[in-house]
């Protein structure tokens, strides 16, 4: 189980900003989201989307715990 957060245009595509998803790894999480919403899954897999687990950016795979927070970050606008 992990808390998933979407930002910027990703939340517009999904129609939600925050939800809990059952997944033990990041790739499991992506697969679960793909089954729910293929358009979102495609948007999340773009090279310009960064992933943060527990507020730290990472590349590649990650193991998720019950309290993990996974954020998908589209290109940042700056302030």
């Amino acid at each position: 189980m992990a808390r998933v957060l979407l930002f910027g245009r990703l939340a517009d595509i999904a129609g939600w900003r925050e939800r809990d998803v059952a997944a033990g790894t990041l790739s499991e999480l992506r697969a679960t989201l793909a089954a729910l919403d293929p358009d979102l899954a495609e948007a999340l897999s773009g090279p310009s989307v960064q992933v943060a687990v527990d507020k730290a950016l990472l590349r590649g795979e990650a193991t998720l715990s019950a309290t993990s927070e996974v954020a998908f970050l589209p290109p940042m606008s700056g302030g």
Binding site: L5, F7, G8, M76, S77, G79
Partner: protein
């Protein structure tokens, strides 16, 4: 050193008054206030989204780096989030140093970084609908001036 993200409007002058108070050894305070432009009515509202705990941490890290790089005595960043009306302040940055070159350069540098690389997502909402904004080429060029070895 202080970094604040807030949904409420703020008065840049009140922030400057507080920042400037009681400084016997500060010779120079540079400040920058970014305001939301009306763009002749084409933009009615700006909406800024942040990732609490991530956005503020990234800004605080950048401010700490600027304090070291430019030898600042102090620095302050206040950034609005949520909907912002034209004419309202979006961001206020103040830097304090013994001499003015450090204060100016650090303030300029922090703004370039905030405008181009800070983790915000920005939407312009106007009569024609809403669109997400990305940094302009000018923003990227400005930010790149500071890359590489510090002077």
């Amino acid at each position: 050193m202080s970094v604040t993200l807030q949904a409420e409007p703020f008065d840049p002058g009140a922030l400057l008054t507080a920042f400037a108070a009681g400084r016997a050894e500060t010779g120079a305070i540079a400040s920058f206030t970014g305001l939301a432009r009306a763009e002749q009515g084409t933009t009615t509202t700006l909406e800024l989204e942040a990732y609490p705990g991530f956005t503020d941490a990234a800004i605080a890290e950048m401010v700490a780096a600027a304090v070291g790089r430019f030898g600042l005595q102090d620095a302050l960043v206040v950034h609005r989030i949520g909907p912002i009306a034209p004419g309202e302040a979006i961001v206020f940055v103040a830097t304090a140093a013994a001499h003015r070159r450090a204060a100016f350069e650090a303030c300029d540098h922090l703004m370039d970084w905030l405008k181009s690389r800070a983790p915000f997502w920005k939407k312009e909402v106007g009569p024609g609908g809403a669109r997400w904004i990305e940094p302009t080429q000018q923003d990227r060029t400005d930010a790149a001036r500071w890359d590489g070895d510090p002077k």
